[in-house]
């Protein structure tokens, strides 16, 4: 896999994952995952259902303690610094939950005031307006549709501007307009140094992330920029996600050594 590693080096990396393993009881869910995501980089984690994408994101976010391995953010190990990571990493799951008794706007207000953010109202108003939530800001999120809940979660995350934003299937629940807006906004936040790692089965039309990470059966098959993968995997033109996935799974997965105790 080292020959397919991307150009990000640990020196300029925002996120470094080293030899990460996670087991559900005796069955391995993640095996020897090592990856890096640079500052301001947008990386897409792709893989079939059950490949371990969500589990990997949870381990990186500190929601799940890995069985083995380390995760560093800006050179700082995550696990002894759980309180610190709550200021620097945000993970949005595919169906984010919210408080029952607070309206959408009050969620934003609570988080902003808890973090002592200044001038948050303008930023939040802009985000709500762009995501089409402004007219529903005084509604309770449990009455929102799945897409609206995801947008509210995005508003909360983008307001905090974390060093690392993790997103599980962000493009599934979003309408095309919001997905397009989100992709455009990513550029602005990346310019400010935010790294983004998202898992997805789809990409907005005619756009590519800076880097792909392909997973299968809890293992990382390859990672790299689209151009690097095109050369290495023999892909042509603007390849689609399913082409990338099929090629990586059929050519690279059989070459991997078997998991010792699986």
């Amino acid at each position: 896999m080292s020959d397919l590693a991307g150009s990000t080096t640990p020196e300029n990396a925002n996120l470094v994952v080293q030899a990460l393993h996670y087991h559900y009881g005796h069955s391995p869910a993640l095996e020897d995952i090592s990856l890096t995501v640079a500052r301001g980089e947008l990386a897409a984690l792709v893989g079939r259902n059950g490949a371990g994408k969500s589990t990997l994101l949870r381990c990186i976010a500190g929601w799940t303690r890995p069985t083995q391995g380390k995760v560093f953010l800006n050179g700082r190990a995550i696990y002894p610094n759980e309180r610190w990571i709550r200021r620097h990493i945000v993970l949005i799951p595919d169906t984010p939950p919210f408080y029952e008794a607070l309206t959408a706007w009050e969620h934003v207000q609570m988080v902003a005031q808890l973090h002592r953010l200044t001038g948050w109202e303008d930023e939040a108003e802009k985000l709500f307006a762009r995501f089409g939530l402004w007219s529903n800001r005084d509604a309770f999120p449990f009455m929102y549709s799945r897409g609206m809940r995801y947008k509210l979660a995005l508003c909360l995350a983008l307001l905090l501007k974390p060093a690392l934003l993790l997103m599980d299937e962000p493009l599934g629940p979003l309408d095309p307009l919001s997905a397009g807006y989100l992709w455009g906004e990513f550029g602005r936040y990346r310019d400010q140094g935010m790294s983004i790692l998202l898992s997805s089965h789809q990409m907005p039309y005619a756009v590519q992330p800076d880097r792909y990470l392909v997973m299968e059966q809890g293992r990382l098959l390859c990672q790299g920029a689209p151009d690097e993968l095109r050369d290495t995997l023999g892909l042509t033109g603007d390849f689609s996600l399913d082409t990338l996935l099929e090629t990586a799974v059929t050519t690279l997965y059989p070459q991997l050594p078997p998991v010792p105790h699986a």
């Binding site: 919210f98 207000q109 609570m110 309770f140």
Partner: protein, 505 residues
């Protein structure tokens, strides 16, 4: 009549079907028709009869007799005076409940097949009323019997026999009277198009609070009839009047229920239907229990426009305000906290003033442990259960616990102190210590400490048990030291609890 029988059969089958999953826990298999299974079922029934009816019920009655004999005359008289008021307040509570939501509750299959069918609405109302009356009686009758046994011990020996039986007999028409009055209040709302959306209607029963000052005899009459049955002074006239009133109320109920708007009934039954849809194990399985609680929390909020707002406080202060706002918006749950603090302080004072035997302190403790005020840590639970929400709260667990439980704890304490102000013959320190320990026990049970998660009941028994036991049998100072040690230990556990472990998926 045919529809009435049909609906009654349907309800009976639904009830039986809801029992099956619970009975399965004891090994009952409804699909097995073998003799072996039949014998096992017989064994289960015999076990239930011997253990629950003869064993547990006998022990409960014995303890009730002990408590009754320990009651001093002034306490007994106070209880007799309080009983009619208690019944009146219960009636008021049920009326307020049915003024807010339909007394006829429909599950999703009911909404689809019963509400949509041409079956007469009065048949549906009658069957549901009967079902509720039966279910309530099953709970109320044993409770009444226990209360009657306690109170009967201070009666002259010649009227003591059958006092419990007499009260059980009068409880049936009294319950039907109270239930039909409350149902009528709820059904009128659902039958009159202009009333169903009038929010003031739900508060109208509160006007009855003024009635005791104007016409106390009428308001306290049901309770006095119950007491008359206890003391053997009941008359045929009282029972006849009660029966007449029930007949009248049920007749009016039947007429009005024919005009019920079932769309409103279905609309207001959604929360009940959602909980029903979770199945019989919803109370037992942690995941389903959380979903059940979430549905319950959403119900009072969903129907209302958000009132009050978060202030401009920053830092952890905003969490304190958030917890207060959540409590106020989620219906009358804050009253439960006040009531809990008042009820358990009152019970403690009653045990103390009546000079009841020490084991009653253990029953008191058991009550505290088995029925803890869940709202005490509801906000903390919401913060900890969802790692998505927890990641936005940059506070260690101990600060989160303090911020989230401060308001509910103060409400509980307010209830306790209100009772203490009226009857200051027990130190308020007891309820303060117990409530702090409850907060900590429930809080620690939500967390993983050194990679271990200890159930609430174990924590509570380990900490509250020795404290109360020492207080009862040895000295108050030893109990105080135990409580302070327990607070220190649990506090340390919260400080060293591990967020990542707790939120592990």
């Amino acid at each position: 009549m045919r529809e009435l029988r049909l609906l009654a059969t349907l309800r009976l089958r639904q009830w039986r079907a809801s029992l099956v999953p619970i009975l399965r826990l004891f090994g009952y298999n409804p699909n097995d028709r073998s003799i072996k299974e039949f014998l096992y079922n017989l064994y289960l029934i015999a076990f239930f009869v011997v253990w629950v009816i003869f064993g547990t019920w006998g022990a409960v009655l014995y303890q009730a007799t002990q408590l009754g004999q320990a009651l001093t005359l002034p306490v007994w008289e106070q209880l007799l005076n309080a009983l009619p008021w208690l019944l009146f307040l219960i009636l008021l509570g049920v009326m307020l409940r049915y003024a807010r939501r339909t007394p006829i509750l429909l599950s999703f299959p009911d909404i689809a097949y019963v509400a949509g069918s041409p079956a007469p609405r009065r048949a549906l109302a009658l069957v549901q009323f009967g079902q509720e009356a039966l279910q309530t009686l099953l709970i109320v009758l044993p409770l009444t019997a226990v209360v009657a046994v306690v109170l009967a011990q201070s009666l002259p020996p010649e009227i003591r026999p059958f006092a419990s039986a007499r009260t059980a007999v009068i409880t049936i028409p009294l319950l039907l009277f109270m239930l039909s009055l409350a149902w009528l209040w709820g059904v009128v709302r659902l039958s009159a198009p202009g009333v169903v959306d009038w929010r003031g209607y739900r508060w109208l029963p509160l006007l009855l609070l003024f009635l005791p000052f104007v016409w106390p005899a009428a308001v306290l009459w049901p309770g006095r009839v119950w007491l008359a049955a206890l003391t053997g002074d009941w008359t045929g006239g009282q029972v006849g009047l009660l029966s007449l009133l029930i007949g009248l109320l049920l007749a009016v109920l039947l007429v009005i229920s024919g005009r019920i708007n079932l769309i409103d009934v279905a609309d207001e039954s959604i929360t009940f239907a959602q909980i029903q849809a979770l199945g019989a194990y919803a109370r037992l399985m942690p995941g389903l229990a959380s979903a059940r609680q979430a549905i319950k929390r959403q119900a009072p909020v969903a129907g209302n426009r958000p009132f009050l707002h978060l202030p401009a406080a920053t830092g952890s202060q905003i969490l304190v305000w958030r917890s207060a706002l959540a409590l106020l918006r989620e219906g009358a749950d804050w009253l439960i906290l006040v009531g809990w603090g008042a009820a358990f302080t009152l019970a403690a004072q009653l045990i103390l003033s009546s000079g009841a035997p020490p084991e009653f302190w253990l029953y008191w403790l058991l009550g505290v442990l088995l029925f803890p005020p869940r709202k005490l840590v509801a906000t903390l639970r919401a913060d900890l259960e969802e790692p998505f929400l927890r990641q936005f709260l940059p506070l260690p667990n101990w600060r989160l616990l303090l911020a989230d439980t401060a308001v509910p704890w103060l409400l509980l304490l307010a209830g306790a102190l209100a009772v203490w102000l009226f009857q200051p013959n027990i130190s308020p320190l007891l309820i303060v210590l117990v409530s702090v320990l409850l907060v900590l026990c429930q809080g620690v049970a939500l967390l993983k400490v050194w990679r271990r998660q200890v159930p609430y009941i174990v924590l509570a028994l380990l900490t509250l048990g020795p404290m109360v036991a020492l207080g009862v049998w040895r000295s108050g100072a030893a109990a105080l030291v135990t409580a302070i040690l327990a607070i220190g230990l649990l506090g340390t556990a919260v400080v060293y609890s591990d967020v990542a472990d707790r939120v592990a998926g």
